[in-house]
């Protein structure tokens, strides 16, 4: 899922301080599941702003609201009523949601309340780890289900680099927590799958255009008609 985290409240205060009528809008899909952008988070954010601006007499915070998904353009107008007088929207969606809202409400600043961090998995309750880089050319079938792009600090295709110790990446020290060496995991998984010959295959130079190096990517699904 898309994982987001709250921007520091100081940064949000700086973003919204010049506005008087602010609406916080949550997003009920990915970032709700990653516990930062759903309805509950929108209520909490509104309360936090009310507290932060309690001295500001001219501030009006609308009751927070939410959309099922802020990233679907045709959903927004039919299912979202913008209250009269809003002069700034604080969106708790991912970057795709913020931009879609900004595209719809052109005259109103749509400000991000979250930092969209990564595509991740919830490995423990409330603990999210990056697992996918959205590279557009998946190699998980060869690497035992461990992504060398998202999970290797150097994004190596022919790893490991030699910087891992006891299965932990050398960046663990600077990160302040254990980071598993993706290539250690890959080798272990391939052993379990009896597919170590995959490890012997040298990956060739990769085309990064499907990964976004050729500009923003676009996908068009052509639907089937019943007749």
């Amino acid at each position: 899922m898309i994982v987001g985290e709250h921007k520091p409240i100081e940064e949000i205060i700086e973003l919204v301080k010049d506005f008087s009528n602010i609406l916080v809008v949550g997003c009920q899909t990915c970032v709700a599941v990653s516990l930062t952008g759903g309805d509950r988070a929108a209520i909490s954010m509104t309360e936090a702003l009310a507290h932060a601006f309690k001295e500001k007499t001219k501030l009006h915070l609308f009751e927070s609201t939410m959309l099922e998904r802020q990233c679907e353009k045709d959903w927004i107008k039919p299912f979202f009523d913008l209250p009269e007088g809003v002069d700034a929207i604080l969106s708790l969606a991912c970057g795709a949601g913020v931009q879609t809202m900004a595209d719809i409400f052109k005259g109103i600043p749509v400000l991000p309340g979250l930092n969209t961090t990564f595509l991740g998995a919830q490995d423990q309750a409330g603990v999210f780890n990056e697992k996918c880089a959205g590279c557009g050319d998946c190699v998980l079938g060869l690497t035992g289900g461990v992504c060398p792009i998202a999970r290797c600090a150097k994004k190596l295709f022919n790893g490991p680099c030699g910087g891992s110790t006891n299965g932990k990446c050398e960046i663990s020290i600077s990160m302040g927590h254990d980071v598993e060496c993706a290539w250690h995991l890959i080798v272990e998984r391939l052993k379990e799958l009896d597919k170590l010959d995959n490890y012997e295959k040298i990956s060739e130079i990769r085309n990064w255009i499907p990964g976004g190096a050729g500009g923003p990517r676009k996908l068009v699904h052509k639907g089937e008609t019943p007749f």
Partner: protein
């Protein structure tokens, strides 16, 4: 029917209500009873309630398995040749109006056939009856 099933282990601690990221759970204290409510429309199906419930009271599998509810019943049109159901009478009418022409009730297998073959099949069907 409710797809959100809470079993007898629930002791009303409200961990689920307080932690639902989509505000899909709520509760009401009325006189001598506490009522816990779930709103399927708001539910993000994230399973956070199930994950954090200290009593293992939420039977999330029921929500994931679910069942189909009947939402509408419509009359069908069948392929004139083989009798396969192809589309609803209502859809046929809509499309006929849109294209201002009648639609031949033929399935994809028989739609591409030469019209004469279709008529032959129809004729052979009629003679065999």
């Amino acid at each position: 029917m409710s797809f959100f099933k809470v079993n007898e282990n629930c002791n009303g601690c409200l961990a689920c209500v307080k932690n639902c990221p989509a505000s899909a759970l709520n509760y009401f204290d009325q006189k001598d009873s506490r009522k816990i409510m779930h709103n399927m429309s708001l539910c993000a199906r994230c399973g956070h309630c199930w994950r954090i419930c200290p009593q293992d009271a939420i039977e999330f599998k029921v929500l994931l398995a679910g069942k189909f509810d009947l939402v509408k019943t419509l009359d069908l049109v069948h392929c004139r040749v083989c009798g396969e159901p192809i589309y609803t009478a209502s859809l046929g009418e809509t499309v006929s109006n849109d294209i201002q022409n009648s639609i031949e009730p033929l399935c994809p297998d028989h739609k591409g056939s030469e019209p004469i073959n279709v008529w032959k099949k129809l004729a052979s069907k009629r003679t065999s009856q």
